[in-house]
């Protein structure tokens, strides 16, 4: 037996009402909602577009994950496509591509953590010691800028400057009697190029959060250190660095939680024929196999794998960050 919507509503209204005939009549949650909706109707109206966005564009696609268990065909659609269980999971994990994707993703991510992560900290520390405000502001303005330019522009400039034929760097190398370097097509240089680009684009922007942490250090600590006769260097070691230590640890932990996210646009733009073996990561694979070759179900499996591992990493990283007594992501 199924209840109609109106029957259900009446039932829900009737039940608590029967129970709470005592001195303090307790409202049912339906009634509470009715009151709230009436009182704050404009608030709910204002929130509606935003909430609808999250519902439609973040929750509805979860449904699409069922594709991973189907032999999905766009012509048959979701309802009529054949269910195949874990067939595509087996295929994906058996495929040698899988290990390749995993290796490339890990390598690019770890290179980023080792070489990229410390740079904003060092630059922020240096900027913090600058006493000439105009100079400080100028450097900040300059190093934040690349963050706002698209990956297409950054990669494009990279092609223009490092290109083999007409790139100015290679022209300079030849001018000084050196051998041209194939910056863009040499697989051995590819990961280094990605890391260098990331540093160039985002390291300056990364200083903001450390500068904020530095600004939050109590200035009395510095005064006390100066009275004790501490040099600038000693102040940095004993006041500044301990002051931002927790920020560094938390950001590092949270960064480790995002090992699977290696920057899709950048890699997609940089990956050309000769470097394919070192450039393919989960996201580019999903695009190539799924969108370009139309293997939706198989590509959904690859994407799902990445998302699940990412979820586990982020949740554990967040737990860890909280253990250090910080707020974490949530």
């Amino acid at each position: 037996m199924t209840l109609s919507h109106s029957q259900l509503e009446r039932l829900q209204e009737a039940l608590p009402a029967g129970r709470s005939e005592g001195a303090h009549p307790k409202k049912s949650w339906v009634q509470e909602w009715q009151v709230a909706l009436k009182r704050d109707k404009y608030l709910y109206v204002m929130a509606a577009p935003g909430l609808l966005f999250f519902l439609i564009f973040k929750y509805v696609p979860l449904w699409g994950l069922l594709l991973a268990f189907q032999n999905f065909s766009p012509y048959l659609g979701f309802w009529d496509s054949e269910w195949v269980g874990f067939k595509y999971f087996a295929e994906f994990f058996d495929n040698p591509d899988f290990m390749l994707l995993f290796r490339n993703t890990m390598a690019i991510s770890l290179l980023n953590i080792v070489f990229f992560f410390p740079i904003p900290i060092v630059v922020a520390l240096l900027l913090n010691e600058v006493r000439k405000l105009a100079f400080k502001k100028f450097i900040q303005t300059v190093i934040y800028l690349p963050h706002f330019l698209s990956w297409v522009i950054i990669v494009g400039i990279c092609f223009l400057i490092l290109g083999e034929g007409s790139g100015v760097v290679n022209q300079l190398i030849v001018e000084f009697g050196g051998q041209k370097i194939q910056f863009l097509t040499e697989p051995n240089l590819f990961w280094a190029m990605l890391t260098a680009q990331s540093i160039w684009k985002e390291a300056g922007w990364g200083t903001i959060i450390f500068l904020a942490a530095l600004a939050g250090i109590n200035s009395e600590l510095y005064e006390a250190a100066q009275i004790d006769g501490a040099t600038r260097w000693q102040q940095m070691r004993n006041v500044t660095i301990p002051g931002i230590k927790s920020t560094i640890i938390v950001l590092l932990i949270l960064r480790l939680g995002q090992v699977m996210d290696v920057g899709f646009e950048q890699i997609y733009l940089m990956a050309s024929g000769p470097v394919a073996q070192v450039a393919d990561v989960f996201d580019t694979y999903v695009y190539r196999v799924g969108i370009q070759q139309g293997r939706f179900s198989y590509a959904t499996v690859a994407g799902l794998f990445k998302s699940v591992v990412g979820l586990i990493l982020v949740v554990s990283a967040n737990r860890l960050a909280k253990k250090f007594g910080e707020e974490g992501l949530y």
């Binding site: 564009f57 973040k58 900040q140 223009l160 959060i209 904020a212 939050g216 799924g290």
Partner: protein, 292 residues
């Protein structure tokens, strides 16, 4: 104290290192800007041009004589203005509502939005969603999937929470509705936050690239970054026919110089706007991201 030898050396070293950092960031851009004004014949005849002897606007003239580039700038410009406006309204309205303590269901909404930051269904389900909503090859495919962001909603919510409740109560006493309070009280006093997030949205819309690749096939809706990619990156490797044609035709200006001019034109709006908004976004980033 600051006059000691060590401090002097440290200062000199510090300023030198930071200057180098600044130069390394800036030099590639400066080079691209300079070459974009290089005289075509000089660039073609010399093997290496660092600073041209003769200057010329021919690359820019060439770009503005082609339809494709101007049109793509129009598409991205429209996205940056219209998209930003819609995104700001949706984001700030949602953030404001979620900042009201009395709101019933607030916790549920906040958790539901937070969850979306943790798990991303991935490219294929998103693609099929946009497809089944019938948004393919429409400007909405470039706006709606990026309409707001959970992260910005949380940051803005923190911002609105810091505004004292008394302000809202006073306005209500004067007969303002919730919508009136939002538009007449809250938005005007949150100009700095709106400026910061407006800049972030405008930049994101101007830089729209991959959703253009995924969702747009019509040339007339092609965003600037997609055109740039064809011009700068794929034309040099895969030879996209339409782009190759754009670069080949006439050939009075070397493609390299045209490309540099294209880079300059596409970054110009950002370079021009952002220094004025810098003070806002630095503050905006810090709201809620670092505890005192």
């Amino acid at each position: 104290m600051d006059k000691s030898m060590g401090a002097k050396i440290f200062n000199a070293l510090n300023y030198t290192v930071l200057t180098i950092v600044g130069l390394v960031t800036l030099l590639p851009f400066i080079y691209v800007v300079i070459i974009s004004f290089a005289d075509p014949t000089e660039y073609l005849t010399k093997s290496l041009v660092l600073i041209p002897e003769k200057w010329s606007l021919s690359a820019y003239e060439y770009i503005f004589s082609t339809n494709a580039f101007v049109h793509a700038m129009g598409v991205s410009g429209f996205l940056a203005v219209f998209g930003t406006l819609v995104s700001l309204i949706v984001t700030s309205a949602l953030a404001y509502v979620l900042s009201r303590k009395r709101l019933k269901g607030k916790k549920f909404f906040l958790v539901a939005i937070l969850m979306t930051m943790l798990f991303n269904p991935g490219m294929i389900p998103n693609y099929l969603l946009v497809d089944s909503l019938g948004l393919m090859d429409s400007i909405w495919a470039l706006i709606l999937p990026a309409l707001t962001s959970a992260w910005y909603v949380f940051l803005m919510k923190n911002f609105y929470q810091e505004i004292p409740d008394e302000l809202e109560e006073a306005a209500k006493m004067d007969g303002c509705s919730d919508i009136g309070v939002f538009f007449r009280i809250m938005l005007p006093i949150s100009v700095s936050a709106l400026a910061a997030f407006g800049l972030f949205y405008a930049v994101a819309y101007w830089n729209t690239y991959f959703s253009g690749v995924l969702y747009i096939n019509r040339d007339s809706l092609r965003p600037l970054q997609v055109l740039l990619q064809m011009l700068l990156i794929s034309a040099s490797q895969m030879a996209d026919p339409s782009m190759a044609a754009m670069l080949e035709s006439e050939r009075t200006v070397p493609p390299q110089v045209i490309k540099m001019a294209a880079v300059v034109l596409s970054s110009l709006p950002i370079v021009m706007v952002y220094p004025f908004l810098q003070k806002y976004f630095v503050k905006g980033m810090m709201v809620g991201s670092v505890k005192g």
